[in-house]
Symmetry: C2
Subunit: 237 residues, 2 copies
């Protein structure tokens, strides 16, 4: 049974938190996009923590190459990191490789710590349903900004939406200090964050509203294999 | 003029934040204790990031040796980290050396980044008065827990009390995302934090109420010299 709920404010903190199950949140936009990919039937995604390795892995595996640097698709990438675009790509049955500044790095950092999923507002209830089955401590990990080294308001707010669901599902679980702060942070602050302002400034306003909607996607992307610099996800359940 | 207000959730984040002036907050208890020392007339304090170096520095300088490991004074220390004890020590005119798990480490990390003070709820208004004179960005740095690697609710809450004062003093300054979360965190959560529970468990309940009181101490401890592993503070102004 789930006995404790906590939030890692940055990925590095997760290593110190003795979690039984982890959910990585990069709500603007990587984990929202990953959830959308599985909703549209992609077979597997390899999240990679290095841009060149992402290019090489996609070529080697004949995979669709997704991702961003400074919010935009790098040269040679098939697609960016916009969850709105996924439906039009017909990714069903295909394989993806993904590199983003924060989300895929965080997945690679956390995947080695224990069972790990990708979570966002889009799949908040599905993610909470998966986490609540853990024995012990569920840790929701904010991917952060600036390669995981800066606080991310949008990830804290999205983590809070998952914490509130866990509190409802499992009222006996103890909330850690950061989980309590997250639970008190309105999900609406995702749209008021500095990173949302950055996305607006590069013409990606539509992504923000998409990422801010809760429970549009009943899918849980789960890490099934990991090693130095990569984490492979498939759809759970 | 102060143009921006932000909060570093952990000391390491401060390096990435382009601050013009910094306030390090370890409200339970190091920066509260440092403020109390200057209120009682201590001449200077050398904050040190290593226990053995603290012992050596105190011997060499004939200084009073303050500090804690796991909340309690290490062997050979003259005093712990309790702000309530300072008045009885008659420290006026003397010199102190201090090592604590989070606060003195954070001071050593931040002191090299720019003008730096020690702040807490006890000197929240005095600290805000000093910060508001900065040109550019004021950054309030949470010392954190676990040697500065874990989130600290009590430091976020105390930082928020300073942010709210800065917002009043300087309504035109822009608040960063973490400063907005801090400003929304009630100061009363200092007493509800996991670290407060730890202090209660080792018999230091009285310290918590002492550290939770605002504006009992109109003193600003300022770093006047720093180098690898140390920061020297005197009373500003």
């Amino acid at each position: 049974v789930l006995t404790a709920i906590d939030v890692a404010i940055l990925p590095a903190e997760a290593r110190l938190m003795d979690g039984s199950a982890f959910a990585v949140v990069d709500v603007l936009r990587a984990t929202t996009t990953i959830a959308a990919m599985f909703q549209h039937g992609i077979a597997r995604i390899t999240a990679v923590d290095d841009l060149e390795r992402a290019r090489a892995a996609a070529t080697e595996r004949g995979a669709i190459l997704f991702g961003e640097v400074a919010g935009l698709p790098p040269a040679g990438f098939d697609h960016g990191n916009s969850p709105r675009d996924i439906g039009a790509l017909s990714p069903a049955g295909r394989e993806g490789v993904m590199f983003t500044t924060n989300g895929t790095r965080a997945l690679c950092t956390v995947a080695g710590l224990g069972p790990t999923i990708a979570a966002a507002l889009a799949n908040a209830s599905a993610a909470a349903g998966w986490l609540v089955a853990a024995e012990g401590r569920a840790v929701i990990v904010c991917a952060g900004n600036a390669a995981g080294e800066r606080f991310s308001l949008e990830d804290l707010a999205a983590a809070g939406a998952i914490v509130r669901r866990l509190q409802t599902l499992c009222p006996g679980a103890r909330c850690g200090d950061a989980a309590r702060v997250a639970a008190a942070t309105p999900a609406a602050l995702v749209e008021a964050s500095a990173h949302a302002a950055l996305l607006r400034s590069i013409g990606l306003t539509g992504d923000i509203g998409f990422c801010a909607r809760e429970d549009t996607c009943p899918v849980v992307p789960q890490v099934v294999a990991t090693g130095p610099g990569y984490a492979v996800l498939t759809r759970a359940g």
